[in-house]
C-alpha cells in the first residue's frame, strides 16, 4: 500500500483526477482512526486520524493551516499543507466525514470546499488556544492544576493536550511507543483523554547524582550532560528547535493546549536561559495563570514579587492569579487580595481549595501523610490523626538503629507495622470519631495482642472504654464517645483546667529513668497496672495491659531517655514489609481526576479563561 498523498504538491490536472479517485476511496473506507497498517504511520503523531489521508478541502489557502511554496517541478507557486494536522484530528475528521456531499466525477468545486471549511471552522479551532499555568514556587500545584484544566476542558467536548517543555524528574513512565516521559505528564494526558507521548514533554532531565543529568528528548535518551553544559550549550543551541516543533504540532492538532511551566518564572539569575516558562508562553501566545500556594504562607509576597520581576511584555501575558490549596470550607483571604491587582495589574481569578485524599501519583515526595523517618526494619506506625500534636515525642525513636517511624492514616498501612503509636491530639473527641469513621479503630483493635500499641496523652485517652465530655469542652456539645476499649480505663473532661507539669520517675517494672511532661485536659482512671512510677512519691502513671500488649501514658517526651524507648522497642519484633495502599488503581485515578476537575472548575471561571468565542486566538 502506498502513501496516498505522495505527490500531493503536484496540482496538475492528471494528479487532481487521481486525488478525486482517492477521495472517493476514502469515503468508501469510512472513518478509520489511526491507520496502523500504513507503512508511513504515524506520519504526524501517534494520535493522528487517517480517515482523510488526502484532504478534500485541498488547496484551502488558509494561512493558519498551510502556505504557498515554490514548486520544484514547475517553478510556480504551489499550496503546501504538509504541516497541517487539522483533518488528522479525530473530531475534525468525524465532522468533515458527516458533512461530505455525494461526490461527482469532478470532486468538490471551490465553492463547496469553502462552504465545508466554513462549517468546520464553526465547530473546531484551526489553531489551539494556549493556556499556561505557571507557579510562584515548585509545588504550587501547577501539575494538578494542568490536569484539572485538561479534564474540565475535555469534559466540554474539546480536544485537549497538556505540554511541558522541560521537566526534571526521576518519576518517569514508558509509553506504548517505548517513549519515556515524566509520570505527571502521563497523568495529564490521561486527564486530557489523549495518548501519552514524548511530544507532551519533549525534554526530560533525569538527575543522575552529582551535577550530571540524562537528557531525554521526545521520549528517547539523548545524552548526559552537566548543569553547566545544559545551560551553556543545550538550552542555547538545541532546546529551542525541539520545543517549538513539538509545541507547534500540538497547537495545530488540538482545541486547547494546557502548558505547564517549571518552578518559578522569576528566577532572575537564569534570565535568558529559562526555556520552561516565559519563553514557551511567548512562543505559544499563551494566556498565563500564576498559581500561588497558600499553605506555607507568603502568598501575597510571591504573587506580587513574581509579577514584579517579569518584564512588561511577559507581564502582559498574565490573565490571572490563582491562590491554591485554600483550606476546604475555610474563608477567603478577602478584600486584601485586591492589593495584588493594584500592584501588578493582574486580576485575582480564583481561590481554589485543597482537594483532600486524591489518589494520584505525586511528582515529589512531599506527601507528609505517608512520610517516614529513619531507616530500618522495625516499622513503628504512628497514626496521623487529623489534629495530631506533640509528635516530637516520636523523634527520639529514630535515634535507635534499625527503627523506621511511618506516619499512616489508612488501615492498609498498618499491615506489616511492628508497633502502633496513637499520638497526642488537640481534639481527642473529634479525632476519636475520625478513628472510628476511617476504619482505623477496627484495624488497630484487630492488631491488639499481636503488636505493641502505645497511646500517648490523647491517644491514651482513646485507648480506654469511654471519653465523657460532660460540659462539651472538647467537641462543642456535651458527649460521651466510645473509646477503643483496649485499656480498662475511662476519661472524663469535667473542667476547663489543664495539667501542665514536668515530671521524672522510673519504669514501673523496675530500673530505668524516665523524664517527660504532661499537657492535657481531662482525667483518666483505670484498673490496669501503671507504666511508670513518678517522683517524688512513687505515684503510678499510665497503664500497661501486658496480655493485650497495650500501653498508655500522659507523658510527652517519654522516649527522650533510653529506658522507655528500649522497653517499647523490645516489645516490637523485626520485619521488612513496606505497607502500602491497595485497590483498583485505574478506577481510583479516574475518579480522582474527575473530582479534582469538578473542584477546580467550581472555583475558576473557565468560560472567561477560554476567552468567549475568539476561536482562533
Amino acid at each position: 500500500m502506498t502513501h496516498p498523498t505522495e505527490g500531493a504538491q503536484d496540482d496538475s490536472e492528471g494528479n487532481y483526477a487521481r486525488h478525486v479517485a482517492m477521495l472517493r476511496a476514502q469515503m468508501e473506507r469510512g472513518i478509520v482512526g489511526g491507520n496502523r497498517e500504513c507503512p508511513y504511520f504515524p506520519c504526524h503523531h501517534p494520535d493522528q486520524d487517517c480517515t482523510f489521508c488526502f484532504c478534500p478541502l485541498y488547496p484551502c489557502g488558509d494561512p493558519l493551516l498551510g502556505e504557498y511554496v515554490v514548486s520544484q517541478r514547475t517553478g510556480g507557486q504551489v499550496w503546501s499543507c504538509q504541516q497541517c494536522l487539522w483533518v488528522h484530528r479525530g473530531d475534525v475528521a468525524a465532522s468533515l466525514y458527516a458533512l461530505m456531499p455525494e461526490l461527482g466525477p469532478e470532486g468538490l468545486d471551490q465553492g463547496t470546499r469553502e462552504r465545508l471549511k466554513g462549517e468546520l471552522e464553526g465547530k473546531h479551532r484551526r489553531r489551539a488556544k494556549a493556556i499556561m499555568v505557571l507557579g510562584a514556587t515548585s509545588g504550587a500545584g501547577k501539575s494538578l492544576m494542568v490536569a484539572a484544566l485538561c479534564r474540565a476542558l475535555r469534559n466540554r467536548g474539546l480536544t485537549v493536550a497538556p505540554f511541558k517543555s522541560q521537566n526534571m524528574s526521576l518519576n518517569s513512565v514508558v509509553t506504548e511507543q517505548g517513549e519515556e516521559i515524566a509520570r505527571i505528564q502521563e497523568l495529564q494526558a490521561r486527564a486530557a483523554g489523549t495518548r501519552p507521548r514524548g511530544e507532551l514533554n519533549p525534554i526530560l532531565l533525569k538527575p543522575k547524582g552529582g551535577v550530571t543529568s540524562q537528557i531525554i528528548v521526545e521520549g528517547r535518551p539523548y545524552k548526559d550532560c552537566t548543569v553547566q553544559e545544559y545551560y551553556s550549550d543545550f538550552v542555547r543551541n538545541e532546546a529551542p528547535a525541539i520545543i517549538s516543533r513539538n509545541l507547534e504540532r500540538l497547537l495545530r492538532s488540538n482545541d486547547v493546549v494546557v502548558i505547564e511551566g517549571a518552578g518559578s518564572p522569576a528566577e532572575i539569575n537564569l534570565r535568558g536561559r529559562d526555556v520552561a516558562n516565559m519563553y514557551v508562553a511567548k512562543l505559544a501566545h499563551a494566556d498565563c495563570l500564576l498559581v500561588v500556594n497558600v499553605e506555607r504562607g507568603g502568598a501575597f509576597a510571591y504573587a506580587v514579587g513574581t509579577l514584579a520581576l517579569l518584564d512588561e511584555e511577559e507581564k502582559r501575558l498574565f490573565k490571572g492569579v490563582i491562590i491554591n490549596n485554600m483550606c476546604p470550607g475555610g474563608g477567603s483571604l478577602g478584600p486584601a487580595l485586591e492589593i495584588i491587582h493594584t500592584l501588578t495589574g493582574v486580576p485575582m481569578i480564583g481561590e481554589v481549595p485543597h482537594v483532600p485524599d486524591l489518589y494520584l501519583p505525586m511528582e515529589d515526595s512531599m506527601d507528609l501523610d505517608h512520610r517516614e523517618e529513619g531507616e530500618g526494619g522495625t516499622v513503628i506506625a504512628v497514626v496521623r490523626l487529623p489534629m495530631i500534636s506533640n509528635f516530637t515525642d516520636l523523634d527520639a525513636l529514630a535515634l535507635e538503629e534499625g527503627v523506621r517511624v511511618a506516619y499512616v492514616r489508612s488501615p492498609a498501612e498498618l499491615e506489616g507495622a511492628d508497633a502502633i503509636v496513637l499520638p497526642g491530639t488537640k481534639n481527642t473527641v473529634q479525632d476519636l470519631l475520625w478513628l472510628h469513621r476511617s476504619g482505623m479503630a477496627a484495624a488497630i483493635k484487630e492488631r491488639a495482642g499481636k503488636v505493641p500499641i502505645l497511646g500517648i496523652c490523647g491517644g491514651y485517652q482513646m485507648l480506654g472504654r469511654t471519653i465523657s465530655d460532660v460540659r462539651g469542652l472538647e467537641g462543642g456539645a456535651p458527649s460521651e464517645v466510645e473509646g477503643l476499649g483496649l485499656l480498662d480505663a475511662a476519661t472524663v473532661f469535667d473542667a476547663y483546667a489543664k495539667r501542665t507539669v514536668q515530671v521524672t520517675g522510673s519504669l514501673a517494672e523496675g530500673g530505668g529513668e524516665v523524664r517527660g511532661y504532661e499537657i492535657h485536659m481531662g482525667r483518666t482512671e483505670g484498673r490496669s497496672p501503671p507504666l511508670f512510677l513518678l517522683a517524688p512519691d512513687g505515684r503510678g502513671e499510665g497503664a500497661w495491659d501486658r496480655e493485650r500488649k497495650v500501653m498508655g501514658t500522659y507523658l510527652h517526651g517519654a522516649f527522650d531517655l533510653p529506658a522507655f524507648r528500649r522497653l517499647f522497642l523490645s516489645q516490637a519484633g523485626r520485619k521488612d514489609v513496606v505497607p502500602g495502599p491497595s485497590g483498583d488503581h485505574d478506577a481510583q485515578v479516574e475518579a480522582s481526576l474527575d473530582r479534582l476537575a469538578f473542584e477546580v472548575e467550581g472555583h475558576l471561571d473557565l468560560d472567561a479563561l477560554l476567552g468567549g468565542d475568539a476561536r482562533d486566538g
Partner: protein
C-alpha cells in the same frame, strides 16, 4: 545599665528557617560567652513543652533556650495558639490557658490586650541580657492579617529591632518571595529591613550571583548569607515540617542530641553567612 541588642528574623513563608536561624544565632552568641535569649511573641503550634514552673510554651522556644544554655521560660513565648479544629483555637497566655477563640473572634480589643502582654514579656526577658534574637511568625505581609499582627513588623517597630528576611530556596521562587515581601512593606518597615538570607541552597552558590546582585540593588540592602542545606535533627515545630534526623545515633538524651546537631549545623554554615554584619546589627542599638 547596658542596652540590650536585638535582631529579628522574619520569613518569606512559614518553614523558611526562622526557628533554626534563631537557634543557631543564639547558640553562636552563647558559645561566645554572650548572654542571649530567644523571643517569639506568638507561636501557632501543637508541639509544646512545659517549663520548670509548669508553663506551656512552644517546643521551638524551649529548643532555642537550650541553645542559649538557659532553662525555658514562659516569657520567651508569651502567646501560644493551639488550633483545635473547626476554626477554634486555644490561646495560652504566659504559659497558662487563657481562653478559646473561634473564627473571627480576635477583635481589636483582644489584639490590644495581647500586644500589651507581649511587650511586658519582651521587656522582662530582655532585662539585663546582652541580646535578644527575635523570631517572627509566618510571612510579615499577609495583608489580610496585618491589622492583627502581634509578632512581625508591629513588634519590630515597637521595640525598634532591625529585621533580617529569610527565604527558603528549596522550592524555588526565593527571589520573588523576597522582593514581593519588600514591595508590600511600608516605608517605616523598609527602614527596619537590614538584609536578607537565602536558606537551604543546594549546589554551587555562584549560580545565584546575578540574581542576588539584582535583588540587592532593587531592595537596597545586602544579602547576608546563602546557607547550604544541612540535614540535621531538631524538634519538629508543626505538622508541615516533620523533622528528619540523619546525625549520629546512640545519644541517650534527645536534648543533648539536638544540641550536638545544632553545633553540626553551625559548622556546615561556617563562612556561608555574614555573622559579623549580623552582630553589628545587634550591637548598633
Amino acid at each position: 545599665m547596658p542596652v540590650t541588642g536585638k535582631v529579628m528574623f522574619q520569613g518569606v513563608t512559614s518553614g523558611a528557617g526562622k526557628t533554626t536561624l534563631t537557634a543557631a544565632l543564639c547558640r553562636h552568641l552563647a558559645l561566645q560567652g554572650r548572654e542571649v535569649v530567644p523571643f517569639k511573641a506568638q507561636n501557632v503550634s501543637l508541639n509544646s513543652f512545659v517549663t520548670a514552673d509548669g508553663r506551656e510554651i512552644a517546643i521551638a522556644q524551649a529548643y532555642q533556650a537550650w541553645a542559649c544554655g538557659l532553662e525555658p521560660e514562659a516569657d520567651m513565648n508569651p502567646v501560644l495558639v493551639k488550633p483545635k479544629g473547626n476554626g477554634q483555637c486555644q490561646i495560652m497566655l504566659e504559659g497558662r490557658p487563657w481562653r478559646d477563640l473561634g473564627p473571627g473572634e480576635g477583635g481589636p480589643e483582644i489584639i490590644e490586650g495581647l500586644r500589651a502582654h507581649i511587650l511586658e514579656a519582651f521587656h522582662r526577658t530582655a532585662l539585663g541580657r546582652d541580646a535578644v534574637v527575635l523570631e517572627g511568625m509566618g510571612s510579615p505581609v499577609e495583608m489580610n492579617l496585618k491589622e492583627r499582627d502581634v509578632a512581625n513588623m508591629w513588634l519590630a517597630k515597637a521595640v525598634r529591632s532591625p529585621v533580617v528576611l529569610v527565604a527558603d530556596i528549596e522550592q524555588g521562587g526565593a527571589f520573588a518571595g523576597l522582593y514581593g515581601t519588600y514591595l508590600l512593606f511600608d516605608e517605616e518597615e523598609r527602614d527596619l529591613l537590614k538584609g536578607f538570607i537565602i536558606n537551604r541552597f543546594r549546589g554551587d552558590a555562584s549560580i545565584l550571583r546575578t540574581g542576588i546582585e539584582e535583588l540587592e540593588s532593587r531592595m537596597e540592602i545586602p544579602c547576608l548569607g546563602v546557607l547550604p542545606l544541612v540535614r540535621f535533627a531538631s524538634p519538629a515545630e508543626d505538622s508541615l515540617s516533620l523533622s528528619g534526623g540523619t546525625g549520629e545515633k546512640g545519644e541517650d538524651d534527645v536534648r543533648r542530641f539536638w544540641m550536638k546537631e545544632l553545633d553540626r549545623l553551625l559548622e556546615g554554615w561556617e563562612g556561608a553567612w555574614n555573622l559579623d554584619h549580623i552582630l553589628d546589627l545587634i550591637d548598633k542599638v
